[in-house]
């Protein structure tokens, strides 16, 4: 459990770190794509949790994730439409999606309390990694003021989710 979690965190930070480092400063269309992808990943994981989780707090947390991330992504889509920006797929988005698909398959094999713990632990790690990427890379790189502001709201939401996930995780012990 601990080893698996550490591996996930390492992979995520390595991934966001290296993928972004190759392309030192992502462009706004790339940033929009990364942020949207990060949201979709969490919604997919939450939908799996809604069907698989046994603990009611875990299930409620997953429902919160779907609701909030869908709301953020709707705002993101509205903004790119308004700015006439086409989100552009990139290595970071691809790496994030690949990593998430692997994690989803791994979680899919677990059941009951094992699943609940692993899902919540991954939510803590995932939000932490995304927050790191937002703070150090995406927000400083964003050119458009409205995009930057949406990312800043996104960061606050994600920080809230991280704390919420940590609280749920503490309740599972």
């Amino acid at each position: 459990m601990f080893v698996r979690l550490s591996a996930a965190i390492a992979a995520l930070s390595l991934l966001t770190g290296s993928a972004l480092a190759q392309d030192a400063k992502p462009t706004d269309p790339q940033i929009a794509h990364i942020a949207y992808t990060a949201g979709v990943i969490d919604i997919t994981a939450a939908k799996q949790a809604i069907t698989k989780a046994s603990n009611k707090d875990v299930k409620a947390f997953a429902e919160d994730m779907v609701r909030d991330h869908e709301a953020v992504n709707k705002q993101a889509l509205d903004l790119v439409k308004k700015l006439k920006v086409t989100p552009e797929d990139n290595d970071t988005s691809k790496a994030l999606s690949k990593q998430a698909a692997d994690k989803l398959a791994e979680l899919g094999k677990l059941k009951g309390a094992d699943y609940d713990k692993a899902y919540v632990a991954n939510e803590v790690a995932y939000h932490k990694a995304v927050n790191g990427a937002l703070e150090t890379q995406l927000i400083p790189s964003a050119n458009n003021a409205e995009l930057k502001s949406l990312l800043q709201t996104g960061l606050k939401i994600f920080q809230g989710h991280q704390q919420h996930a940590e609280h749920v995780a503490a309740g599972l012990k």
Binding site: D64, D68, A71, T153, K156, I157, Q159, G160, Q163, H164
Partner: protein, 106 residues
């Protein structure tokens, strides 16, 4: 014209007025971009709080001591009447990084 009825109506109005505390106020607390403002507010028992959620996300105002737990839907306003005095720290259950304090005088 109908003295009996008028008197009855007046009595009812007065009784009604007496049931409501004399200086009950309405205080607005706004949640916008995951920030609660004012972060520190003062009120009295009997006052009404209007919780205004300007975000597209649902929020809650959840007292740490269990005195209140209000859920505010996206872009909606919820109201609650304060029943107990005290300095109450509250937060949003969905986004626990949203925190504020409400001081309620008796």
């Amino acid at each position: 014209m109908w003295p009996g009825r008028t008197l009855l109506l007046l009595t009812a109005l007065m009784l009604g007025a007496m049931a409501v505390p004399a200086h009950a106020a309405t205080i607005q607390i706004v949640m916008e971009n995951l920030v609660v403002s004012p972060a520190e507010a003062s009120a009295k028992v009997g006052d009404t709080i209007e919780w205004i959620n300007k975000d597209v996300f649902a929020h809650t105002a959840t007292a740490r001591n269990g005195d209140f737990d209000v859920t505010i839907a996206p872009k909606k306003t919820a109201t609650s009447v304060l029943k107990k005095a005290g300095t109450v720290e509250y937060y949003c259950r969905f986004h626990p990084n949203m925190k504020a304090v409400l001081t309620i005088a008796p």
